[in-house]
């Protein structure tokens, strides 16, 4: 009997147990559904890609023709395009004088791409030409027209187009400027924040939104100090401070920014704040509705449309792990979709921890730009 027990034990020992590893299959439960997400290197890997340290995606926008343009930040800034028909990222060149382009790529109705640079604060115009047949050449300068410096001594930190003008915000002094496409002239419309809010010694920024948005009438909105909204109405070269504010826990208003704006086809504007609140701004009634927090995290770093009228966003600040969520305006329901992670073993696997920009196109594809030393572009395909 004793021998039999020992023999059984020995067999059990020899068979062993299932292997456990660093990435158990159960991890797939906390990330975005893997049949709905994929990633793209920023170029033609392994050599002709935007280099690590220069690849943080901090601007994404979809052009009227459906092409996605993006810009990176790091040691140098690069402009790239993704033509949906092809599906790969094509680096277009190094943006002159730029190490950061933050929510500052805007495309006009004519297809010209406007780029607001940091630290030099110049507005550049890139006109796409036969991109289909250009060889990838990492490091070549992007051919641009330099439209000049928006505000002396200031860097451009956000940009949008409305009508025949480009609008922008600058840092460190929170100027709201306009560039007339017809006149080719900059106008400084004033500031949205005049003081650095009282805080700790490491807090040195004036508070303003990280994006701009134009409503259906062409008015452009920003947030400024104390979370107040500012507006420039169509035809008025004047900056107005509105009576409405971005949602914040009482007492936290001085440090509140709008991270992301999104114009809805219904005419309302959705936005997300630095504290992670989603809100709805009615640009006609000038009301703000706090829609709560989709995540137990700071920030809403991007907000876009998806199929079926849903909104998709990503939350999480630069020290956290970003998560994707959806919001259904028809029900007011949130869904937390999980970490932004792509697992295509054995070919590649990568999780984005910090997201710098989002965009979506008419087909419903959601583009998510990672902003880290090594960064990739994620394509998320929402379901209806």
């Amino acid at each position: 009997m004793k021998f039999q027990v020992l023999a059984l034990l020995a067999v059990a020992l020899l068979r062993g147990a299932p292997a456990y590893g660093q990435r158990p299959p159960g991890y797939d439960k906390v990330v975005v559904l893997q049949t709905r997400i994929d990633a793209r290197d920023l170029g033609y890997a392994p050599v002709d890609v935007i280099p690590d340290g220069e690849s943080g995606i901090t601007s994404l926008t979809v052009a009227p023709n459906g092409n996605l343009y993006g810009a990176t930040s790091g040691k140098r800034s690069h402009l790239f395009v993704l033509i949906p028909r092809h599906g790969y990222v094509q680096p277009l060149g190094v943006i002159p004088g730029a190490t950061a382009v933050t929510h500052a790529v805007a495309v006009s109705a004519s297809g010209d791409v406007y780029i607001g640079t940091s630290p030099e604060g110049h507005l550049l115009k890139y006109t796409p030409q036969d991109e289909d047949h250009q060889a990838i050449q990492i490091g070549k300068p992007l051919p641009v027209t330099d439209l000049g410096q928006a505000v002396a001594g200031e860097r451009i930190c956000a940009l949008t187009i409305s009508g025949n003008a480009v609008y922008g915000l600058t840092a460190p002094n929170a100027h709201f400027f306009e560039y007339s496409l017809h006149a080719g002239k900059f106008t400084d419309l004033g500031v949205v924040a005049s003081e650095i809010p009282l805080g700790e010694k490491f807090e040195k920024d004036k508070m303003m939104s990280r994006m701009l948005v134009a409503d259906g009438q062409g008015s452009v909105f920003a947030s400024g100090e104390n979370g107040a909204f500012f507006r420039v109405r169509v035809g008025f070269e004047k900056l107005e401070e509105l009576e409405i504010h971005a949602p914040a826990v009482p007492g936290r208003e001085p440090w509140t920014r709008v991270d992301a704006f999104l114009l809805d086809p219904s005419g309302v504007i959705y936005g997300g704040t630095s504290d992670g609140y989603l809100f709805r701004l009615d640009p006609e009634k000038l009301t703000v509705t706090n829609l709560g927090k989709p995540l137990n995290q700071y920030r809403i770093v991007g907000l876009v449309h998806g199929p079926g009228g849903k909104l998709y966003g990503v939350g999480g600040d630069e020290q956290e792990m970003a998560r994707l969520f959806s919001y259904d305006p028809s029900t007011g329901a949130y869904d937390v979709l999980g970490f932004v992670d792509v697992n295509r073993r054995p070919y590649y696997t990568w999780q984005a921890y910090v997201i710098g920009a989002m965009a979506s196109d008419a087909s419903g594809t959601v583009y998510i730009g990672e902003d880290e030393r090594i960064s990739k572009l994620y394509l998320f395909y929402p379901w209806p």
Binding site: L9, L14, R15, A17, G21, V30, I374
Partner: protein
């Protein structure tokens, strides 16, 4: 009957059932970590210091890791303390400081430098939350005073998964988990620097190599190598590649563990080269960082148990590689997939050597302790000033019904951590 003897009999029985001849064995001494039977793992954290003390970081998932040292002069094991307490975080209900998961380093001042790490991560559901892990501490233990100096949290919410200390620039380097950032602490200035991301969470490079000029090297991507130069405070990705084995279709372990980096490297002052093994098939290679602008990598052989040579199912490489004073590399190869409580089952480690003078690889046999017990697996190695080779790993024990005398279970049996001592003159 002693605990280890029971397992020796089981092992012998298993061999008999398989009809295999008695295996070649190599005898190692061992010392338990007194009073710390519940410690469940050790990875990389082993330093045989110049004064004969052998420092070990013991891991405990869901509880406090401990810093201990074995004084080879007096044959005594000393528990310096629990890491949560040493970090000043006792009673705060934070995720505990459960590990030293990276290499120690000895400073010119004689202090032992290291960084801490977390234990449980809960699928990162508690990352950056109030009850989550607060972040790794940089620390130094002073053998003269017996005290630990805490330099505070470095990477917030993250542990130092991989690390190395450079006495030349007096810095503790690390790679964080989960976000794979390259970080360092400059002891002289107190600067805590984050150089950004290098790896994905499931493939954080497990060893940073430092050459005698203070340059730091790591592995990334698909066998890539990068160099951090402290003179320029910059990272450069080199064109050379570690000889990893491309796996093709994803099966079994491929899904769980990255096999794209080097697993560990050791610096050889004499040849001014690194010697290391890759993760996937324990391929031995040399990396000469001074050969040309990007260095040169050469494949030298395979350091796994010879039974697995050229097979698909080579156990995941261990961190147990060290260079002996006799110019031989010593590597403790797992007999089965080994990762303490997550191991595939009981099997004896083999001690493999590679002679840098002759290029000859030799299997010294199954690692066994004097009372017949087998060394199930190890995950750290170092060479003492007198040439003694040390490993830390798991040894089989019989559970005591009255008290927890083991750290975890492998293949249905219980294991306990031990320091293994091997004298190369016995080769």
């Amino acid at each position: 009957m002693t605990a280890v003897r029971k397992y020796w009999i089981l092992g012998a029985l298993a061999v008999a059932l398989n009809g295999v001849a008695a295996p070649k064995t190599v005898m190692v001494q061992y010392r338990f970590f007194t009073g710390l039977a519940q410690m469940d793992g050790n990875w990389a954290a082993l330093e045989a210091a110049s004064d004969g003390k052998v420092y070990v970081g013991l891991a405990c998932h869901g509880c406090n890791g401990h810093l201990v040292f074995y004084d080879s002069n007096t044959d005594k094991m000393v528990d310096v303390g629990g890491l949560t307490g040493l970090s000043g975080e006792s009673g705060l209900n934070l995720g505990p400081q459960s590990k030293i998961h990276a290499k120690f380093g000895e400073g010119k001042d004689g202090r032992i430098y290291f960084a801490t790490h977390g234990g449980w991560w809960f699928s990162y559901g508690r990352f950056a939350t109030q009850e989550g892990y607060p972040g790794a501490h940089y620390m130094a233990y002073d053998p003269k005073t017996g005290r630990v100096q805490d330099f505070g949290i470095g990477p917030r919410y993250e542990g130092v998964n991989t690390g190395a200390y450079d006495p030349k620039f007096n810095r503790i380097y690390g790679l964080t988990h989960p976000r794979g950032h390259f970080v360092y602490y400059d002891v002289a200035t107190g600067a805590k620097v984050d150089m950004g991301r290098m790896n994905n969470w499931d493939s954080v490079c497990r060893t940073l190599g430092i050459d005698d000029e203070g340059n730091v090297y790591g592995s990334f991507g698909r066998g890539g190598i990068y160099k951090y130069d402290p003179r320029t405070d910059s990272i450069r990705e080199l064109s050379v590649r570690v000889p990893i084995t491309e796996k093709g279709i994803s099966l079994g372990r491929d899904y769980n563990k990255s096999e794209t980096h080097w697993r560990t490297v050791v610096w050889d002052k004499q040849t001014r080269k690194f010697y290391g093994v890759d993760e996937s098939a324990t391929i031995l290679f040399s990396f000469d960082p001074y050969a040309g602008p990007d260095g040169e990598v050469r494949r030298l052989g395979q350091m796994c148990n010879p039974d697995f040579a050229n097979r698909r199912d080579v156990p995941y490489a261990t961190l147990s590689l060290t260079l002996g004073h006799n110019r031989k590399l010593y590597y403790a190869a797992a007999g089965k997939e080994f990762d303490y409580g997550a191991s595939a089952g009981l099997a004896a480690s083999h001690l493999i050597t590679y002679d840098l003078r002759t290029g000859k690889t030799e299997d010294l046999g199954e690692m066994r302790v004097p009372d017949g017990g087998l060394v199930i697996g190890t995950n750290s190695a170092d060479t003492g000033p007198d040439g003694t080779i040390y490993f830390v790993g798991a040894i089989s024990v019989t559970p005591d019904p009255d008290k927890q005398n083991y750290g975890g279970r492998i293949g249905g049996g219980a294991y306990r951590l031990a320091l293994f001592i091997y004298h190369p003159q016995a080769d």
